[in-house]
Subunit: 306 residues, 2 copies
Amino acid sequence: MRVLITGCTGYIGSRLASRTVSRGWETHAMLQPGSDTSRLPTSTKTWVYDGGIESVLQCVSVAQPDVVIHLAAVGGSDHKPSDIQPLLAVNLLLGTQLLEAMSIGPCSYFVNAGSHWEYDSEGRYAPNSLYAATKHAFQDLIEFYCRTRGLKAITLVLYDVYGPSDWRGKLIPLIVRALQTGERLPATPGGQMIDCVHVDDVCAGFIHAAHRLINENDTGHAVYAIRTGEPLRLRDVVAVLESAAGCPLNIGWGELSYRAYQVFQPAESIPVLPGWCPDMTLEAGLRQIISGADMPEERYAQPSRI
Amino acid sequence: MRVLITGCTGYIGSRLASRTVSRGWETHAMLQPGSDTSRLPTSTKTWVYDGGIESVLQCVSVAQPDVVIHLAAVGGSDHKPSDIQPLLAVNLLLGTQLLEAMSIGPCSYFVNAGSHWEYDSEGRYAPNSLYAATKHAFQDLIEFYCRTRGLKAITLVLYDVYGPSDWRGKLIPLIVRALQTGERLPATPGGQMIDCVHVDDVCAGFIHAAHRLINENDTGHAVYAIRTGEPLRLRDVVAVLESAAGCPLNIGWGELSYRAYQVFQPAESIPVLPGWCPDMTLEAGLRQIISGADMPEERYAQPSRI
């Protein structure tokens, strides 16, 4: 089994690569020039994407992947005008180039990462960010390649992914850090519901989706959720952490306002990936994090409001 | 009234600019560097788009358009791998940059050009080309700007646009040329239905949509068709032309196969732009073309199968 993964230097991608390598899959990573490969398993074969189609064609033609897992994305809840070009270059152009190269490859199976930020609570398209809009727009391009080139694709809609050693400035790392340092954390009122999914469950979802594409007779593009189905209010997530840690956090609830286009209720109507369910409860996942000594030294990239 | 039009050097755009100028609208054209401006009315103010956001921000901030009409597109029924980057650069990036600049401008009204190639006969998304897929994907980005920046937008879904002096290698110019030269024209079996809309009616649709955005209290993004609702088989279009000309054409029906993903029945379920209807019958439109001596000297850009 050969897999090509994009976004391998990211939090989910690097853990996914470890997992595909440990399953014995020949693992190829497509990277931006100058990427830090220190988190990748040493057996990962790396390819440099220079923005042009030729680098993608060559990678796919030599690596001959059975399946491509596309995680590379430029994210963020806000954007500046100057972010538009890099956002579209990764979230739309790179993905389209990959699909094109696969259609020539040939490689028929494509697993894509979506985001619940694309949707309102009813599962209708209601992007809260340009990032979410480009994620959704890209799926129109996937449909084209499935329709005219016979590709088969699954988009996995991701919710709040958390886990150990998360260096991203996301919600759970922030509150874990507040627990460890005792610092006071200003917060929103905390009424927003979040569906926390452990990164290892998310990686299992990507591998399950790859198997499903290969083994089932589905055609076209399907969209499935990777969610527990048991969202909690942010306040209740903090309560679970306090219970697991056995001590209270110092959180200034209500000191911050909700962000613009805050998602209060993550979409629950998107069907969960058939055959997948999460293994890790939130309590077990949080215990794993606070018991480990593995919080990264690195600075948090983008401190996020919680 | 100030209007900014992209794609002004194209067939529809250049005729639209003549029309907005003759209505007394201050008309701004955003052009690629080195564009041929010979078809633009001399009073058109031109802006050069260099691919970067700054050129778009500056244009919108100085021109201060009341409405933007976005016609620029890279088209085509087929694409090569090397076409992907320019296709996305115009059909997705430029449009997004425009929406961003409008949200800062401020300019609230955006009229966009869609294509019936995005849809099957039932009006479901079923792109026949990467061009059509990018047209559809872009509408997800429009939705984002309407939802979060208060823009109001109309996408007009275009069908088979024809008219005098059409230098594009499209269907009606090809058969008119065959009429004029007497040359034999190899053709498909000719059973595909086409909905021919005169370019002047199309331009009237864009102006009507601009008025509608300004005068109606609609919010968000609406999609309307610019179609006659009376599609004809290609063979019957040729029969109308033969009748108008009073002489037969020499067409080799069935000598070519239909193109891959040929649209046989254009979408009829997309609502027509309210308040708009075509003025020109197909017979009158074809008479206008064959009676004029205005067939362009230029070579047909991309001879198309009919």
